[in-house]
């Protein structure tokens, strides 16, 4: 399998990198920094891609690993702050409905509140990966992915409905 160029990878997966970064970083500047770390890691890792996994698996692995590194570089105080609830008010606004963007922000904020083991799985589920692919990315069994995905969906539903979970 030919090694894809970084330009091809970013064209195909750039938006996914930004979305995954958004599930770890609330502030736009932090998200941008994390995406930059992901792109840098991809630039350095792609020459060593040997095709023993799908390109998608490889890209999501690198992105997820950079997010872990980012969490590990934070001070414990910042880490706790990032887990503080930041859900927007779930009640409809004066227009009586959510805009698409605010629904998305609401979903993103709920995902950010999940513990790491559930967040990793649900972000990849939302990206449309199969349980087998998610297992490959995270290094866990498909059975484990299924259990975490179910728990993550239940927690997410509670959070989106305004519960404290």
């Amino acid at each position: 399998m030919a090694t894809p160029s970084i330009e091809d990878v970013l064209r195909q997966y750039g938006a996914a990198l930004a979305r995954i970064a958004g599930s770890y970083e609330r502030a736009p500047a932090g998200r941008e920094d994390l995406v930059q770390d992901m792109v840098l890691a991809l630039i350095q890792a792609l020459p060593r891609f040997r095709g023993d996994s799908a390109v998608a698996t490889f890209v999501y692995r690198v992105a997820t690993n950079q997010a872990i590194d980012r969490l590990a570089r934070r001070s414990p105080a910042t880490l706790e702050l990032s887990q503080a609830p930041d859900l927007p008010d779930p009640a409809p606004g004066p227009e009586g409905h959510y805009s698409q963007a605010s629904r998305r922000e609401h979903l993103l904020a709920a995902v950010r509140q999940l513990p790491l083991s559930l967040r990793q799985v649900i972000t990849l589920v939302l990206e449309g990966l199969s349980h087998a692919q998610i297992g490959d990315v995270l290094g866990i069994t498909e059975n484990n992915v299924a259990v975490r995905a179910n728990r993550a969906r239940a927690r997410l539903r509670e959070l989106l409905q305004g519960g404290t979970a």
Partner: protein, 188 residues
């Protein structure tokens, strides 16, 4: 729990689309900086080792030979340790998240070990300079006060940097351990 619910979430999730043009350019610059830093680290070590011998040959003074010997005695083992300490830490790409967490923990432990060795190298370097400063070693007997002042400043600066790095690494290790525990807690 319905598939419609999941599809609706996926639809909302995948709406976001960002332009990574500028970020790509910045990452390219960062990549070049990282490569230069990696080369710089080893270049400094080689220049110090080779330069000390070249300088001693050029000056041909017993004191300079003692200095060069001290640099080799401390620098060469430190360089060998640095290379040995990094074995197995690089060259692997695209690890699964679980393997990556384990590798990150290993990197932290190795960096902490390097710091502990670094404290030893700092003490040994300071002791060498101190021996010169008080005239126990070298042909210039007597107390060299300016050398002692520089030694004190250098030791305090180095120690401060090392202690800050030590604290950060220790914190990172604790966070990584917590993340690894959290991920493993969900094993079924």
């Amino acid at each position: 729990m319905t598939d419609d619910e999941l599809r609706s979430w996926q639809q909302q999730w995948q709406q976001a689309d960002d332009d990574l043009g500028m970020i790509h350019a910045r990452a390219r610059r960062d990549d070049r900086r990282h490569r230069l830093l990696a080369v710089f680290e080893y270049t400094v070590a080689v220049v110090l080792l080779v330069g000390s011998v070249a300088f001693a040959l050029w000056q041909d003074h017993p004191d300079i030979w003692i200095w060069a010997g001290a640099i080799w005695l401390l620098g060469l083992p430190a360089l060998i340790f640095t290379i040995w300490n990094r074995r197995g830490l690089w060259g692997r790409a695209g690890l699964s998240a679980r393997d990556h967490l384990q590798l990150s923990l290993l990197r932290c432990r190795r960096a902490l070990r390097a710091l502990r060795i670094g404290y030893g190298v700092l003490v040994a370097s300071a002791a060498t300079v101190l021996l010169f400063a008080v005239g126990i070693v070298g042909s210039d007997p007597g107390l060299n006060r300016s050398m002692l002042v520089w030694l004190a400043v250098a030791v305090v600066l180095h120690l401060s940097v090392m202690l800050v790095a030590h604290r950060r690494l220790w914190q990172r290790q604790q966070i990584l351990l917590a993340l690894a525990r959290e991920v493993d807690d969900f094993d079924v």
